[in-house]
């Protein structure tokens, strides 16, 4: 549904820009009209679309599960309870398989990560133009702004802020439990005194430090990269809709095929993020060999 007034490049760029709220360089607060303006806003700006969908999906997830949890009973489970219990049981088994210690935080954490990331990824499967188009209509007719300046990215996990936000949360937990379980000295020793002998500790520190930092970075970038690439492919296929009826039909087929394949990716990415989180936290809990 690339509109006639946009070139392909503009269309893609438009789709990949977040709706940013922040302080303009001239001091006034408001939405950025272009990607450049958003970049100029610096750190104290916020991606309204990412945050909105992220929080909304979190609310939906926990609304459903809270409802199931409130009515949970040991009798014959109904449809919703059955579904929720299936997921909870699945998460619980996975956590029990990878996490050797006992910590009541881990399973809920793993569940939150899995369910939330899955839902955020799932937004990718909603037709790529639908929600931005609705947002543009809303912006144009209700708010009276230029629709070309209404940016709306509906998949929060294609925003690195979101994935890094999650990964940093996990990272902080890793540091917290490392220090709690091994003490500051123990944690530092783990970083500095292996794998090489103690006198080589600068090298050890660099190696282990990179390994430590790589964990959250790889968590965040893996999810972001997968979802961003998937989203981009959806957008590229959507470009074919403006290239005649034959190409549009072909594009529709491609869109369908990619969406079906993407079902696998979104689930897999959510699962990988969860599993690695559990594994990293397990490592943080364990005294080193």
């Amino acid at each position: 549904m690339a509109s006639d007034t946009l070139t392909s490049g503009e269309y893609i760029k438009h789709h990949l820009t977040n709706l940013t709220f922040g302080q303009h360089p001239d001091g006034s607060w408001g939405f950025a009209h272009t990607g450049e303006e958003a970049a100029q806003m610096g750190f104290w700006a916020i991606h309204v679309d990412s945050m909105f969908w992220s929080v909304l999906l979190g609310f939906i997830l926990f609304y459903i599960f809270r409802k199931a949890a409130k009515n949970a009973h040991a009798g014959v489970p109904g449809g919703l309870q059955n579904f929720c219990e299936w997921i909870v049981d699945f998460i619980n088994d996975t956590v029990r398989g990878s996490f050797s210690g006992r910590n009541p935080l881990i399973a809920p954490l793993a569940f939150t990560i899995f369910g939330w990331i899955f839902l955020m990824n799932f937004m990718d499967l909603i037709a790529v133009d639908l929600l931005p188009w609705l947002a543009q209509l809303f912006g144009q007719h209700v708010l009276g702004v230029d629709p070309h300046h209404v940016y709306f990215k509906v998949v929060p996990t294609t925003d690195p802020n979101i994935t890094f936000g999650l990964a940093l949360g996990v990272f902080i937990l890793m540091l917290y439990y490392s220090i709690k379980m091994k003490g500051v000295g123990g944690f530092f020793g783990e970083l500095a005194f292996q794998p090489f002998p103690k006198w080589m500790f600068p090298i050890n520190l660099i190696l282990e430090g990179v390994a430590l930092i790589a964990k959250p970075v790889s968590l965040a970038l893996r999810l972001f990269g997968n979802m961003y690439a998937g989203e981009t492919i959806f957008i590229l296929i959507a470009l074919m809709y403006s290239a005649g009826i034959v190409m549009a039909g072909f594009g529709g087929l491609l869109q369908l095929g990619w969406a079906i394949f993407h079902i696998l990716i979104i689930t897999l990415q959510a699962f990988i993020f969860m599993t690695l989180t559990v594994v990293y936290l397990d490592m943080a809990h364990q005294e080193h060999h």
């Binding site: 945050m51 926990f62 929720c84 909870v88 802020n161």
Partner: protein, 156 residues
């Protein structure tokens, strides 16, 4: 793609959701799951117990059936024995009764025979007396010849 406060917003949301999940979602779900697990385990144990009891009951039923059969057999044989006894008794009774009846009949017959003999004897005596009267053409005094006549009658 800029890094900005969204990062912090997402972290806060993350913390809140994890806290909410840990506090309000996980415990009731786990409780329900554990309770169900326990219920199922109990149910399975009860089922096993029931099965065992069922087997025991079957065993007991089989035993009492055998016993009942034995008893029945015993009763039947006793009854047969009793029946045979009764038949034997009846036969014996019948035989004695028959013998008694035969004896009575014979007795009667004997009496009749004796009576007929007596009568015949009397008649023969009177015929003999009449014949003798005719032969002697004279009256035979019954009183005087009674001894003679009785002797005669006894000889017949």
């Amino acid at each position: 793609m800029n890094f900005n406060a969204t990062l912090i917003g997402q972290m806060i949301a993350f913390v809140v959701f994890v806290w909410f999940c840990m506090k309000y979602v996980w415990p009731p779900m786990m409780k329900a799951l554990d309770e169900r697990k326990k219920t199922i385990a109990d149910g399975l144990a009860a089922a096993e117990r029931g099965q065992r009891e069922h087997e025991l009951a079957e065993e007991r039923a089989r035993e009492s059936l055998v016993e009942a059969k034995q008893q029945a057999q015993e009763i039947i044989s006793r009854a047969e024995k009793r029946a045979a006894e009764i038949v034997e008794e009846a036969k014996a009774d019948a035989r004695t009764e028959g013998e008694r009846m035969i004896a009575a009949a014979r007795n009667e017959l004997d009496q009749e025979l004796n009576r007929v003999k007596e009568e015949l004897r009397g008649q023969v005596v009177s015929i003999a007396v009449a014949g003798a009267e005719k032969v002697l053409e004279r009256e035979v005094n019954e009183q005087t010849h009674n001894e003679l006549l009785t002797k005669l009658a006894a000889q017949i």
